[in-house]
């Protein structure tokens, strides 16, 4: 029929072989989705506070979890912020403000109240519109470094749906020890019948480094981004299958996308229009993981869930 060159046959057969090899995942059990039991909202008096409380309240209704609010501004403004925020809501505990800077207050309250999920505005104490993607703020930086529990950073204010997070995007860039934890939280937070997308992202810098190193080792090696995307998918095949099984077991839709950084950014814009929740795992001992998480938070206009390990 047609006359593929030997090089094309080689490339296509190799690509197809790699795809089949991805199915060699052995036993992959579904994840046990993680859901919060005690949610602490840290308020800063910014326009994001209302969204934080609304999201927390929706989660409380869905999971039956306990809810507390903390005025974690550096100094008390005397405007009774927590009362204002919880007006009309039943059974919301208002925590006594501990001493110290905002991040110290939040960490202290989280520990003493024994919460398992933090919700806070980001950037802390400032409006998202003023700072945009330039900074996630010191409070978040410190919490990312010290908080033992997952947190949801609320970026731009919005009115959450009755069952929030119809769409969850779980991003992975490379091997990450917190991946399973983050995936479990992502699966737990998704609304019933919602849509979870595992997004494997090939960083441009990483690709260029690998390409240069491979080229230096052997000039004959033809290395392209597609190969690296395939390798990324192959190395996360077990996670993919695990999430697939989790989706079947817990009645949500799941898909995998493998893309380069620029494509991921384009897709983010679409996801943000539906107030998707972005989920990431933070491997504390890995500098690259810190960079990924901070970049993810800075670029997002939608809430970002960070699960640390």
């Amino acid at each position: 029929m047609y006359d593929p060159s030997e090089r094309k046959i080689d490339r296509d057969v190799e690509e197809s072989m790699r795809l089949f090899q991805r199915s060699q995942v052995g036993e992959a059990a579904p994840l046990a989705p993680l859901q919060p039991k005690r949610v602490l909202v840290a308020a800063d008096g910014s326009s994001q506070d209302a969204t934080s409380i609304a999201v927390a309240d929706r989660l409380r209704k869905r999971f039956g979890c306990e809810l507390a609010v903390l005025d974690a501004r550096d100094s008390a403004a005397g405007d009774d912020l927590t009362n204002k925020l919880t007006a009309g809501l039943q059974d919301v505990e208002q925590l006594t403000k501990p001493s110290g800077e905002s991040f110290e207050q939040i960490l202290s309250a989280a520990e003493s109240w024994k919460c398992d999920l933090l919700i806070l505005p980001c950037p802390y104490g400032r409006d998202f519109e003023k700072v945009g993607a330039d900074s996630a703020g010191t409070v978040l930086d410190v919490l990312l470094a010290r908080s033992p529990i997952p947190l949801i950073a609320i970026r731009r204010p919005f009115e959450p749906e009755a069952a929030p997070f119809q769409r969850v995007v779980f991003s992975l860039w490379r091997e990450n020890e917190a991946a399973v934890l983050a995936a479990s939280w992502a699966a737990g937070m998704i609304a019933p019948g919602g849509h979870l997308r595992l997004e494997l992202v090939l960083e441009e810098e990483f690709y260029e480094n690998i390409r240069d190193v491979m080229g230096a080792l052997d000039e004959s090696i033809k290395f392209d981004a597609e190969k690296l995307c395939n390798a990324l998918a192959a190395s996360h095949a077990h996670m993919h299958r695990t999430l697939q099984k989790t989706a079947t077991a817990h009645n949500f839709v799941y898909e995998l996308t493998v893309c380069r950084e620029a494509e991921a950014h384009e897709m983010d814009v679409t996801e943000e229009a539906s107030h998707a929740l972005f989920a990431v795992g933070l491997e504390r001992s890995d500098h690259a993981s810190h960079g990924h998480v901070q970049d993810r938070v800075r670029r997002a206009a939608s809430p970002v869930l960070v699960a640390p390990r």
């Binding site: 029929m1 006359d3 030997e6 046959i9 072989m17 199915s23 992959a28 299958r241 799941y254 898909e255």
Partner: protein, 454 residues
């Protein structure tokens, strides 16, 4: 003056016919031996013959556009099915199905072997040879490595069974599309005439291959071996190949609807090209992830190859040479179907084994049309060309793209070289049996008066 008279009578002088026939032959030599790229050979032949045709006043230059215009529908089918097949393949549907079926064999050699042969047959029928071969070759290599089976019996069998799959439907192979379009053969006629013989030819192929490879595979395995194989094959999970179930389902539905569309195209008064383009567009709309990438995967090499080929054949046809061949063939056979069917089958089979089945089919289309114009029933002749030109490729390592892909992959990935002699002993025997079967099958249908009329 002689030239002008010839043009007016519709025939060129003998030396012009001979010159153009030589030009066509040289083009086919270029196609067969790949000194040049096939497409370059066809386009070069087209350029030379067009210039000669205009210079010798065989036709006016504008006639070239008319030659190509009558084959536009073939391009529509190639583009539409190309997009659809690419999108479906990317969805992982066929990788998923094939791995699922392989897993169901529990890795036992005999079951695996027959499953791979049948899978090849079905996949080629649906996807055409090249995409199906890429999937099956890679599957065989991965599974054979994992289960410690030799790849050679599997890959050679895949190569040969693929040519049986190519005769199942209108859209299973390019010769079918070309002849089906030129002769106006409805899709369902393929299911009535061609598909049953496809199964017969598959049985012939598997029978011979089973015999040839009787000592190359452990056809019987004890309980302990079977359990070990089962454990190793269980490591493969076909669902891990699926990135999105919705894309998978949508791709499957669009493919299924397109096949149905082919079947009912004539009934609703549209061409196969329209159905193929609708299928391709639906795939881009509902199941395609990257429109640009998918359109870029359309096989423009084939389309340009066809452009060159159609022009070459159109030029030769305008000299009257092919009509002359048809007259001689009819004279030789005494208008007897018992002679015409074997003659065409033999020519199509042997020609395909040496050159390529597409030029052979393309050349025989005007020949059969001319034979039919002389009052001979056309149905058995079309089917003879379709069946024999597809199955003829089994005879040599270069006769079919399935053999080219399998032998190259076997050498590259498994380090096994299969020589011409060894291949011809296996494939040649199968081709002879299959083409002999074609003759008997078609003559039996003809004398039973059971050919669906066109």
């Amino acid at each position: 003056m002689e030239v002008l008279l010839a043009v007016e009578s519709g025939h060129s002088p003998g030396w012009v016919m001979a010159l153009f026939a030589l030009g066509m032959l040289l083009t086919y030599v270029g196609v067969a031996f790949e000194r040049f790229h096939k497409t370059v050979a066809a386009l070069s032949g087209a350029a030379v013959l067009t210039a000669l045709a205009v210079r010798l006043e065989v036709f006016k230059y504008e006639e070239i556009h008319a030659i190509l215009a009558k084959d536009l529908n073939i391009f529509g089918v190639i583009v539409g099915t190309g997009i659809l097949v690419d999108v479906t393949s990317r969805s992982g549907l066929f990788h998923f199905l094939s791995m699922g079926i392989v897993r169901a064999t529990a890795g036992r050699a005999a079951a695996l072997y027959f499953a791979i042969c049948v899978l090849t047959f079905v996949f080629v029928a649906v996807l055409t040879i090249v995409p199906a071969m890429l999937i099956l070759s890679s599957l065989v290599l991965v599974i054979c490595r994992s289960l410690d089976y030799p790849a050679k019996p599997f890959l050679l069998s895949v190569a040969i069974c693929a040519n049986s799959g190519a005769i199942v439907t209108f859209a299973s192979g390019l010769p079918n599309i070309m002849i089906g379009t030129a002769a106006g053969i409805p899709y369902v006629h393929f299911l009535m005439v061609s598909a049953p013989y496809a199964v017969v030819s598959l049985v012939i192929a598997i029978g011979v291959l089973r015999l040839v490879f009787r000592n190359d595979l452990a056809w019987r395995q004890d309980e302990a071996t079977q359990q070990a194989l089962q454990a190793r094959i269980a490591e493969f999970d076909p669902w891990a190949l699926v990135e999105s179930r919705w894309v998978l389902v949508r791709s499957g539905v669009i493919l299924g609807l397109t096949i149905l569309g082919f079947a009912f195209a004539r009934m609703v008064g549209v061409g196969m090209d329209f159905v193929a383009m609708c299928g391709g567009t639906a795939a881009l709309l509902f199941a395609g992830k990257s429109v640009e990438d998918t359109i870029a995967k359309v096989n423009w090499t084939v389309i340009l190859f066809f452009v060159g080929l159609f022009v070459v054949i159109g030029c030769v046809e305008h000299t009257g040479a092919l009509e002359l061949v048809a007259t001689r063939v009819v004279d030789l056979s005494g208008q007897k179907m018992a002679a015409l069917v074997p003659l065409l089958s033999l020519f199509a089979g042997v020609g395909s084994a040496i050159v390529d089945n597409i030029p052979v089919a393309a050349t025989l289309i005007p020949v059969v049309q001319n034979i039919h114009a002389l009052g001979v029933p056309e149905e058995p002749l079309w089917w003879a060309v379709i069946l024999a030109s597809n199955l003829g490729g089994n005879a040599t390592p270069i006769g079919s793209i399935s053999c080219v892909i399998a032998l190259h992959t076997l050498k590259k990935e498994a380090g096994v070289t299969v020589g011409w002699g060894e291949f011809i002993r296996i494939g040649g025997l199968i081709m002879v049996l299959q083409v002999a079967g074609v003759m008997a099958y078609l003559l039996a249908i003809y004398y039973a008066g059971a050919f669906p009329e066109l």
